[in-house]
Symmetry: C2
Subunit: 213 residues, 2 copies
DNA sequence: GTAGTAACAAAAGTCAAGAATTGTCACTTG
DNA sequence: CAAGTGACAATTCTTGACTTTTGTTACTAC
């Protein structure tokens, strides 16, 4: 393999890097202020003009970084979802604990995190909900990610001999469906934190018992 | 026990009965017309004045039969729910089939009926949904009824020795929760009839297997 | 005393104007 | 060439006068 010849001066490289870094940082700054305004004034009263004004820039420039208002809000939701996933991914990665225990803990944590977010950050939850309603690809990606994590825990269980499963992916979807009542935004929003998560534990006990057959 | 003495003429009795019958029939007529208008013009564009006009009566008279607009719509939803329950109650009553099979059939039918109603009667579904959102007691009653029917099937299973359950009522709620994804109005509305009910069957297989432990 | 009505206040809905927002484009700047 | 701007059309969002609807009450008729 022949080494690539970089046809550029150090100066032009630095410039390009700084441009990229700047692009990224203003992108982040825009996202930050959007979240801030969203929290303060809610979804309805936050527009790209407001965001631009808060940052002392023309609204056209916001469109340089996000192709549309909904793209901007999608990015906010994506970030929000990343925060939701973080504690779950930790559980998925912790290969020491037995799969059944991790599976139960995973669904419980999902429900808890969603609940905390709904109660503690209602404005951002509203953003996420409006995106869910439009059936965006952000949601599809999120569901796929959740399914993959659950499937990985299931595969660990298969490897350790706890279960025999034909399709861990399909079973993962089955588990997400079975527990939707406790973590799906459309349902968490309805009974504002009234449902008892002990019911979720009981449900998972039955599902896990059923998986062992 | 001493026989009750009826202190009234046949004439006054007939009058009272006819009054009751009439009350009932105009009540029914009002409900019928409401459903009709709801179907034709949707939830937003149907008011008690419209209903009264369609029946050639003053709107005040509608208020003689229903205390408020929402009471009228509650009654519509109640009727709608009764239609949903009918095929389920049949399954609950059919004591010949084994409990596990009936349980699976029951949840499947619930999902199917809800789906059919959503697709075939979107206007009335909208009414039902708006009532669900306001967390009315109509919904609580409906959920209680569903729980009781599932609990009865579960008790049949316990009697026949298929399962041992501490609390059929709690387990019934568990099953309703687990299958909410497939029959809860808030979810059925989202993926307009796209979800595969085979997934519900698979889920119920796992739950039923889990119940046997 | 039940079915029904007419007249009324309060709340909610309608609609067209003017205002603001979304999104595009040609343009400047480092 | 990427970050940024001002001017612009198209589209949505207010706003406030006006209309309709909701719900009550005092009434008639059987």
């Amino acid at each position: 393999m022949r080494p690539i010849k970089w046809r550029c001066s150090t100066a032009s490289v630095e410039k390009a890097i700084s441009a990229l870094v700047n692009a990224d940082s203003t992108r982040e700054r825009i996202l930050d202020t959007t979240v801030e305004l969203l929290r303060r004034h809610g979804l309805g009263k936050t527009g790209v003009v407001d965001v631009a004004r808060a940052l002392d820039m023309s609204h056209s420039n916001v469109y340089k970084h996000f192709t549309s208002k909904s793209a901007l809000f999608d990015a906010v939701a994506e970030r929000w979802l990343a925060q939701v996933m973080a504690p779950l991914t930790k559980i998925t990665a912790d290969k020491k604990a037995p799969a059944a225990k991790r599976l139960k803990q995973w669904t419980r944590t999902l429900a808890e995190v969603k609940r905390k977010k709904v109660l503690g950050d209602p404005a951002l939850f509203e953003v996420y909900n409006s995106i869910t309603a439009d059936a965006h690809d952000v949601v599809a990606a999120h569901v796929a990610r959740m399914r993959d994590e659950v499937a990985e825990i299931l595969r660990d269980g298969v490897r350790s001999g706890a279960w025999k499963l034909r399709s861990p992916g399909a079973t993962a979807m089955l588990i997400l469906n079975a527990t939707a009542r406790f973590h799906h935004p459309a349902m968490v929003g309805l009974d504002e934190g009234r449902t008892d998560l002990a019911e979720l534990d009981a449900l998972m006990d039955v599902v896990i018992a059923g998986l062992s057959n």
